[in-house]
């Protein structure tokens, strides 16, 4: 019995990393496709005049989206607190103003943020795991970290909110970094 189990375990152990890698590459390709689709929609908004020169979306966000579209690798902004200067806060405020008046734009940027973060997670899965805990540590401190670890009730909802928050921080840091 042990021999049979050993043979099956060996086969699984040898092939499982290959399967997981192919699955991760497929999800990475899907994330990059989603990014390209959001950039296409952004181009159409600029073509029909919804976004004009001088706005934050046209001048800054669109350039970041193009960079993200053509990137082969994605990095984690570990020292994200360095980029929250008053100028960048003002840029964020202007961006929120533009998004408030334009629902399709807001939805588009949300989808872009999610696709961008998904691409980062698929490109660097281990780094993204530690990055999310890093963000949680700074978002709430050690107490929240411990509660998060011990909590098993509503873990799905908490995980979804946490991913959303990490995606927002990641996109904001990338926007600030390249601005």
């Amino acid at each position: 019995m042990l021999t049979i189990l050993f043979c099956v375990t060996l086969a699984v152990a040898f092939n499982l990393p290959i399967v997981l890698r192919s699955y991760r590459l497929r999800r990475f390709a899907q994330a990059k496709l989603d990014i390209v689709r959001t950039v296409n929609e952004m181009e159409k908004l600029m073509l029909n005049g919804s976004l004009t020169l001088g706005g934050v979306c046209h001048d800054r966000i669109y350039q970041n989206m193009l960079q993200s579209q053509y990137a082969n690798g994605y990095r984690a902004p570990w020292k994200f607190w360095k980029f929250f200067t008053p100028e960048m806060q003002e840029m964020q405020t202007k961006l929120h103003e533009e998004m408030n008046g334009n629902t399709p734009l807001a939805q588009l940027l949300t989808r872009y943020g999610q696709a961008n973060f998904k691409a980062f997670r698929c490109n660097r899965p281990i780094a993204s795991f530690f990055f999310m805990w890093w963000v949680l540590l700074f978002a709430g401190g050690l107490t929240v970290l411990v509660i998060g670890v011990l909590s098993i009730v509503k873990i799905n909802e908490a995980w979804r909110n946490f991913k959303q928050r990490s995606a927002e921080v990641y996109v904001a840091s990338n926007n600030i970094q390249t601005a």
Binding site: M1, L5, C7, A11, R26, Q30, N40
Partner: protein, 93 residues
């Protein structure tokens, strides 16, 4: 059939086939698992190729949109130049 009965049946079968039989069966099962995983990887790779082709299509569409934007801007620049020329001609008169 209860799990205990299943386990006993499997145990009896393994004892019947002996060590060499168990090794042969294990190799067969290992090869089946490898084949299954190979099919999974092939499926993922095929899907990834489809996604890449779709991405290329979207990028081509994006180039077309960029061309349309460039043409629109050219037209706007042409109109502005024309109105500027008209304004200058009007001033000279």
């Amino acid at each position: 059939m209860s799990p205990t009965a299943c386990a006993e049946a499997i145990n009896t079968f393994v004892q019947a086939i002996g060590n060499q039989g168990a090794f042969a069966l294990g190799t067969l099962l290992g090869c089946s698992v490898t084949l299954l995983m190979y099919r999974l990887v092939s499926k993922n790779d095929r899907r990834r190729l489809e996604i890449d082709l779709e991405r290329e299509k979207e990028l081509r569409g994006q180039l077309q949109t960029k061309d349309e934007r460039i043409n629109k801007l050219h037209d706007q620049v042409g109109t502005l130049q024309q109105s500027l020329a008209d304004a200058r001609a009007g001033k000279k008169k």
